[in-house]
Amino acid sequence: MTAHETGVITTRVDEVIRWGRKNSLWPLPFGTACCAIEFMGVVSSVFDVSRFGAELVRFSPRQSDMMIVAGTINYKMGPVLRRIYEQMADPKWVISMGACASSGGFYDNYATIQGIDQIIPVDVFIPGCPPRPEAILDAVLKLQAKIDRTPTK
């Protein structure tokens, strides 16, 4: 056995955990409108979010750590969104995708919540109606940078 094969790397636990977290984000698509269709494009082969380790889309909040709220959230859906968010295990992050989720979009009326940050904490907002797939990839990278600079304890 050579030294190369039995080599040892020294690092900090904190750093390894952050590295692992940011490169294995499992998305939970909370898709309520057309943004969810755009998100499908991000996951599939042309844009391929798996290049950034976030391809394993889970449809259960218990198995995922990155919630992507893609679409209009109305007041009736509000408690549902909140409950799904609470069912996710820590650590967890939220991306608010598109104008509707971030600000209500052009639905400025009695039915639509004017931004999901009124119900759940949001890490990254993506503008656009709907956003381009590149914008979603950018949001994932921004979230990775945020995870990278956040201490794990």
Partner: protein, 173 residues
């Protein structure tokens, strides 16, 4: 309305007028469709007659708030009917005063009236007499007021505190 449609609709309207004197208050031609204004007390009988005459599809029930229109009752219920075998359309309007929101339900004539009437109740507050389950369908059940009334502040949202009204059977367990 084409001449052919007019010729087909004429005997139907005359037949109903003969059977139910005073039930049809007015006839209008609106955007090419026949509109019948029905008396609220007899509207259920009028609808039953139309169903018997082949209007087998209730496409929609709409509400109208005529808040700032003078010399009229405040609300209007509009039934959009279509006959699949005869390819004919007719709309039926029923005026509803603000202090008495009762309207006869047509759920016993068309199944599709069930959700349509729930929507009209949710948005305007009509009380459809005889409806099997007249509860809100679009807004949540803690919502106060009726959102499509002209005096409802259009931007006024109302928070729902829980999901219990979405799946009551599951929440009970």
């Amino acid at each position: 309305m084409s001449k052919n449609e007019r010729e087909q609709l004429r005997p139907i309207v005359d037949d109903i007028k003969g059977r139910l004197p005073g039930a049809i208050l007015n006839e209008e031609d609106s955007f090419g469709d026949l509109v019948l204004v029905a008396d609220r007390k007899q509207s259920h009988d009028v609808m039953k007659q139309l169903r018997a005459q082949g209007f087998d599809l209730l496409a929609d029930i709409a509400g109208v708030d005529l808040l700032k229109v003078e010399h009229t009752e405040r609300f209007l219920v509009v039934y959009n009917l279509y006959s699949i075998p005869r390819d004919l359309r007719v709309r039926v309007k029923v005026y509803v005063p603000e202090d008495d929101m009762n309207v006869p339900s047509v759920t016993d004539i068309w199944q599709s009236a069930n959700w349509a009437e729930r929507e009209a109740y949710d948005m305007f507050g009509f009380h459809f007499e005889g409806h099997p389950n007249l509860v809100r369908i679009l807004t949540h059940r803690q919502f106060e007021g009726h959102a499509l009334r002209k005096d409802y502040p259009v931007m006024k949202g109302q928070w729902a505190s829980g999901v219990s009204d979405l799946m009551p059977d599951m929440e009970r367990e």
